[in-house]
Subunit: 418 residues, 2 copies
Amino acid sequence: MHDTRGDRPGRPRGRLLVQKYGGSSLATAERIVSAAQRVAAARAQGHELVVVVSAMGDTTDELIQLARSVARQPDERELDHLLSTGEMVSATLLAMALADRGCPAVSLTAAQAGIRTTRVFTRARITGIQPERITRELDKGKVVVVTGFQGITEEMDVTTLGRGGSDTTAVALACALGAECCEIYTDVEGVYTADPRVEPAARPLDRISYEEMLELAQLGARVMHPRAVELGLLFGMPILVRSSFSDAPGTLITGGEEVEVRKHVRGVAHDMDVAKITLGGVPDRPGIAAAIFKPLADASINVDVIAQAASLEGITELSFTISRGDLPKALPMMKEVARQIGATALDTSDRLAKVSIVGTGMQSAPGYAARMFSALAQANINIDMISTSDIRITCVIDRERVEEAVRVLHRAFELDTD
Amino acid sequence: MHDTRGDRPGRPRGRLLVQKYGGSSLATAERIVSAAQRVAAARAQGHELVVVVSAMGDTTDELIQLARSVARQPDERELDHLLSTGEMVSATLLAMALADRGCPAVSLTAAQAGIRTTRVFTRARITGIQPERITRELDKGKVVVVTGFQGITEEMDVTTLGRGGSDTTAVALACALGAECCEIYTDVEGVYTADPRVEPAARPLDRISYEEMLELAQLGARVMHPRAVELGLLFGMPILVRSSFSDAPGTLITGGEEVEVRKHVRGVAHDMDVAKITLGGVPDRPGIAAAIFKPLADASINVDVIAQAASLEGITELSFTISRGDLPKALPMMKEVARQIGATALDTSDRLAKVSIVGTGMQSAPGYAARMFSALAQANINIDMISTSDIRITCVIDRERVEEAVRVLHRAFELDTD
């Protein structure tokens, strides 16, 4: 039993691939069979396989509708138990399809796969993985199909990880099992230089660094969930994003040193989900920013771009953006804050959007911001707010101009050519 | 903590009701809400409640269809995991509907509820119940909704108990928790004197003994699963069968001594699922019956009525009935047996049906068989085979005459009058 392959829990399994199939890749019986064929082909090439699945097609949304038809405010613990059935259905069907084609397979629920999480229903975090059952089934020569998006608390209650959680499950399992690579199968051919629905000249990238992908994911490129990318970065797990509908090579998300930087700017991202709150007539004294942002943080409202005008006679103006969905919750809080700190005006706008350029090269080469701003200016697109990081420059602009801005920047940074 | 209510695991909970809702009682969101209202009403009357649910409407059949669309022969372990999602959906929806109406509730899967079974997928048997989580939730004042029809193996794999398994789950939980009563909610108003679709004068019975119910259930009265009735008999658990669509009082299945025997014959049952196999020219010598029935038993084929003709010059004829679905499997076996024992003829018929009268009174009063046979004779209905027990007489007759036979016998034994 003591061989050198290292097939005991916690030891790397060099021939192991973790593949994740999203909802659109499993939306029908035909697509499940097609995914099974892809899995079987990888196994025939000598790989061990753990396959993480999302729920079929729109199942999750349909289950949420069903919950709302019996309860005005569905209990979150019950909702998580309900939603978890979606991945159980796709996991068992995929395992059946594999077994029926002579490829031994077993489906495991989050409880069976040992995926432990916090007890925060609807948006739990993975706290650890106890992979004994998975490794036992792999040792029997089986393909192990694991329900994505879900975990289990210490009390054996089922939790879900929030939208995009199946990506996180896949990368976490790849890291815990010491897999060779984590492959994310989706309905697009990889990570694009821009949203191809907006910029027809957008191209899939061969490679991208974790950091760049993280920025893109957070900026609204829906191809990968940011938490999954973070995990990949933390454990150095290569993540290959590719289409389940074609044989295109996809995009490899990997460590910065492996990424050949041919262009400084790698992609343009945009995000429509932007609401701005502006407090005017704010006394410019220490503690004001804390007074404004602490209640938002306490309510788990994420603040994105922040801009403060230059102080004039001890009075300033402060603007920040949040997700549009958080506006109804944030507004009464800000009214109260405005009263407390003596601000004289409170304005909101949800007619804005963000456009960003991302690339690890930017930190070592100047002039990118200027090039971005002048490209937008030439197109007569006004910039409302600006935010930057080492590898990203973001402009908040008019929502109606954002698609044009994507195309302008894609061209300005020559992203349409290889 | 040490009060006298006896609310620790394994001790009787005198105020506890176990209610089971079948698929038709939970087929739509409206019906789930209506079931929630009934549960909440029982709780408002001071009862503790454990509610066992089947899958909504035709969910189980739909999931089986889905499985067949991806695999010619779905793996049974995977099929059980797939089917178990049906009850998870109805359990979580019912718990949400309850909580949303101010009635604290929690749904538990078979794993969470501690329902242990054998590792025989698609027809597992309950081996024990570890009710700690259930009693903990009851002690918190919650209604506990448990997924019926399913259990869990020692290895944490999900099993199903076969058709009608939710009844078994309900009675098993009622016994394990020391409930006051197990209430089975269904789409009929109780146990009838005959199938009301066949005999319009059929009436629901107030009470019936476990033994009588067991005979009726095995004879094709689909209202209760025989295994559930057996469990009730074994533990003396009163079972109330009633409609979830009306306030009719239903039928109480209870111990014989509590059943007031006003009529000796309590009901007429019929069953269309009958196939007959006849072996002719069989040498009448010891060991022949064993040679015929052992291979059937080994293949888990249930033999029902057996009839052997009087031996003539050392040659006899032997007939028996099985379920029609077992015929394709049994026939090649019997061809082989006929060859081995030197039988000269092998005939089959699937144009038959069974009609039975059932009642505990019969064992202590003679003449019932004669009355049954003469009633059928007067209606010119030929009897092909006969089988009896202490509380039952069954005749195998022509399939096309069986509904008429039900009506004839219902009238002959005056079952239409109270």
